[in-house]
Symmetry: C2
């Protein structure tokens, strides 16, 4: 039986979803929970990685099991064996043909930043910009990213590992509550650092240091050296992974 | 020159304001910052202790120095030498007769709890009760604590260390925003665990497991074994310390 699992985590204490080096990552911790439940090794397959310090409200993975446990009891079994900063929200029985990575239709990432005074209680959860940004200029400049483009200038992926760096950004919604800005990105796929590099450039626009035209030029450069702006990981959340049957 | 300093901190990573054992506490970290600035040992005197995991938005301490630095530059010097989870908010030159502990007129502590779904991003900042509480019953029962009482049943202080356990609670304001409840305590002094033990009992009232009459009996027992309820430290904040000239 294959199960699709939706999981939330606080990325503060982990080296990302999966890491090459021998440090604590979220996938390992979840696989350890499954090892305890099954008394043998069980591998999981995530929708994709998240970087060190990045959070998730709705990461998705799948795994296969012979155990006969109800969906609700799977949620309980996971959470009984997971630390408090990783919580399984939902477990659904799915077809054996479901694949958490290959079947992704789109993903939503949210980025939070604080334009007000430094909030030490939110330092791991909201990027502390601590200065007023020109939100209208950011809203205008974000249009450069909408649609289908070669995002080579906005990803850390090399051309060797990712020859095709064309992606589609469906929408970037900006909302404000007090001094907190939320940028909600919906796209068919995001490469490594892509959201953080778009946010890094948008923050510079908000500070008046880059214009919409500069952003356009950077995008058109299709170059790994077109700019060096990358917003912090702490304000970034993988909010939702969408699949065909959702 | 004596300075009064207002400081905020995230208590998550510390064993309280001051600890007996050789573990990292907030006072030590601040004294280390002052040691770097002065190139010699400098002691500070806090308004009182906070426990492991308890936060502060407005803890106060004083220290003496021969250095001639403006109030604003003291703020910068502190924060340049402090970790990101401890931030000095204000530094004020005061009379040599000012004493951060002896001069306290009253203190405000705030306690936050979440009646909604478990929020892993707030697990160190809001106590996750995750069930609906009867707020009106809690509001009614809190009246038992208002005024001047012997709070022996609501403190961990032994009678040897604290012979006089009479304290005055001026007010307990309860406010609600969505599923988050805030309890704001103002009193002339709070003994060890006093707010957490009052909150522990009020939460039981909210769950329907204790009545206002039970709370009255527990208070009147003036006993260290009258009950065993103590709310978690994570939801507790030392919000403000009041002095005569404020």
């Amino acid at each position: 039986m294959r199960y699709k699992v939706t999981v939330a985590y606080d990325g503060s204490n982990y080296f990302g979803w999966q890491s090459q080096v021998d440090v604590v990552n979220i996938q390992d911790v979840i696989e350890e929970a499954l090892r305890i439940i099954h008394k043998r090794e069980v591998r999981i397959t995530g929708s994709g990685r998240t970087d060190r310090g990045v959070h998730a409200r709705g990461q998705v993975f799948h795994f296969d099991t012979e155990l006969n446990i109800s969906e609700e009891n799977w949620v309980k079994a996971f959470n009984a064996n997971l630390p408090h900063d990783i919580r399984v929200l939902k477990v659904e029985a799915v077809s054996e043909r479901f694949h958490a990575r290959y079947d992704v239709v789109s993903k939503q990432y949210d980025y939070y930043l604080n334009m007000g005074e430094y909030d030490l209680f939110q330092r791991d959860y909201v990027t502390q910009v601590c200065e007023k940004l020109d939100v209208e200029k950011m809203r205008d400049a974000r249009e450069v990213f909408l649609g289908t483009h070669d995002f080579s200038s906005f990803s850390a992926n090399s051309f060797e590992e990712t020859p095709d760096q064309v992606r589609t950004v469906h929408s970037i919604d900006i909302s404000q509550e007090g001094d907190i800005l939320r940028f909600s990105f919906l796209g068919n796929g995001f490469m490594r650092y892509m959201v953080r590099m778009m946010m890094g450039v948008l923050i510079e626009v908000g500070k008046g240091k880059l214009t919409k035209e500069d952003v356009q030029k950077i995008l058109e450069a299709r170059s790994k050296t077109a700019h060096r702006y990358k917003a912090e990981s702490v304000g970034l959340y993988l909010t939702k992974v969408n699949y065909p049957l959702d």
